[in-house]
């Protein structure tokens, strides 16, 4: 859990450092340095908040094909090819659930709740092709998503979950483990999909997200999915979140509901 993720982050950071150092050395014509030993402490050197946590404030976006399909897929009309973001490649569905997923895929143009402008749920909201904005304080982290102005508030105040409820974007409680933001989310209901390919869950879903900043502009994002009604075991995805660097960027509107009404009013 903690070890491998930090190792991965450290390795990525080390790799970036190696690359930069090697380039610098190459310019000077010297030999590249020895491979640094990955640190067990975080290698994060980016900005920090007043309470000494990595400062995640700002606008971020995933660059990935996960929103089309978490699993590996070749291109089809309008959909680029993509490697799997799932550790191990495939989502470990129970047999009946796999049949359901395949049925979802066949019916995706009508069955995908996103095409009804329903909230995307978690973690789909993270890797939709839209930016999102993190506002970070010691007790609360607010995440605003451009898609359908979805929001999540992650509580870092030690309060317990609101459970036995259903929220489209779930109920999230977070804590810092070193420089990794760890978020537990429950009460996610059963009406959202994970992507446009029909990957789905039951109301037993529990998520653990780990946001591990690599540097000021990259976050290693890992999500563990635990849903004993649908999957044979917990499973993970891994993505990179990129800081949007443009000056004076702000989230714009994707008021999906207006598109529904405009279509409806035209038909009438």
């Amino acid at each position: 859990m903690k070890g491998p993720v930090l190792l991965a982050a450290g390795t990525i950071a080390a790799a970036l450092a190696i690359g930069a150092a090697a380039a610098a050395q190459a310019q000077r014509g010297a030999a590249p340095p020895r491979t640094p030993i990955p640190q067990t402490a975080s290698a994060y050197n980016g900005p920090r908040s007043p309470d000494r946590k990595p400062d995640l404030n700002g606008i971020w976006q995933a660059v990935t094909t996960a929103h089309w399909n978490l699993e590996a897929h070749s291109a089809s009309e309008g959909v680029p090819a993509g490697l799997s973001v799932v550790e191990g490649g495939s989502i470990p569905y129970q047999p009946a659930a796999l049949a359901k997923r395949n049925e979802n895929f066949q019916n995706r143009l009508t069955a995908d709740p996103l095409r009804k402008c329903y909230l995307p749920g978690v973690p789909r909201a993270t890797y939709l092709p839209f930016p999102f904005e993190i506002t970070q304080t010691p007790k609360h982290i607010g995440i605003a998503y451009e898609f359908a102005h979805a929001t999540r508030t992650i509580f870092l105040d030690g309060t317990p979950h609101l459970d036995d409820l259903d929220f489209w974007m779930g109920d999230a409680r977070g804590r810092w483990e070193g420089d990794t933001l760890v978020v537990d989310t429950v009460s996610l209901g059963d009406r959202t999909w994970f992507d446009q390919a029909g990957n789905f869950h039951s109301d037993a879903l529990k998520l653990v997200e780990r946001f591990t900043p690599i540097d000021a502009s990259h976050i290693a994002y890992e999500v563990t999915f635990d849903d004993a009604k649908v999957f044979t075991r917990p499973w993970k995805i891994n993505l990179v979140l990129y800081r949007r660097m443009e000056k004076n960027l702000e989230l714009l509107d994707y008021e999906c509901a207006e598109h529904i009404y405009e279509k409806l009013f035209k038909k009438k």
């Binding site: 609101l162 036995d164 409820l165 259903d166």
Partner: protein, 130 residues
């Protein structure tokens, strides 16, 4: 002892009187304060969704036929702040509803009060403070 109709009318007055700080829509757009209903049935489904939670009851009519009624409640934000959760009502439980029927004559109603199987009575509607 207040009659059903008195309770209903007062509840309606309270619901209608708050012009400004009300539900996300006007009660009277969908439901009829002149059509109070008292329903008793078994819970078949509960949709814990904003802007209004809905529960569904199988109600046996006077003719013996069982009809499924859709009952509108207040927003979950309000319900949970009064201690409601998803498991507050179990599927199959016998629930009593005091409320108002829909204007369109179909089996929809808006709930004012809900009585749970153990006798607990909870306000389930949308309060409209003046």
């Amino acid at each position: 002892m207040m009659t059903n109709r008195t309770v209903a009318a007062i509840a309606a007055a309270i619901m209608l009187a708050g012009a400004s700080a009300a539900a996300h829509h006007a009660f009277s757009a969908e439901f009829d304060q002149e059509k109070p209903v008292n329903l008793e049935g078994t819970l078949t489904k509960a949709e814990w969704m904003n802007p209004h939670a809905w529960i569904y009851l199988d109600v046996k009519g006077a003719d013996g036929k069982v009809v499924n009624w859709a009952i509108e409640m207040g927003p979950p934000n309000a319900l949970l702040r009064r201690g409601w959760k998803k498991s507050s009502m179990q599927y199959g439980a016998v629930i009593k509803v005091e409320g108002f029927a829909a204007k369109n004559g179909k089996e929809f109603a808006n709930a004012t009060n809900i009585t749970l199987p153990d006798g607990t009575k909870i306000f389930a509607g949308t309060d409209e403070p003046k």
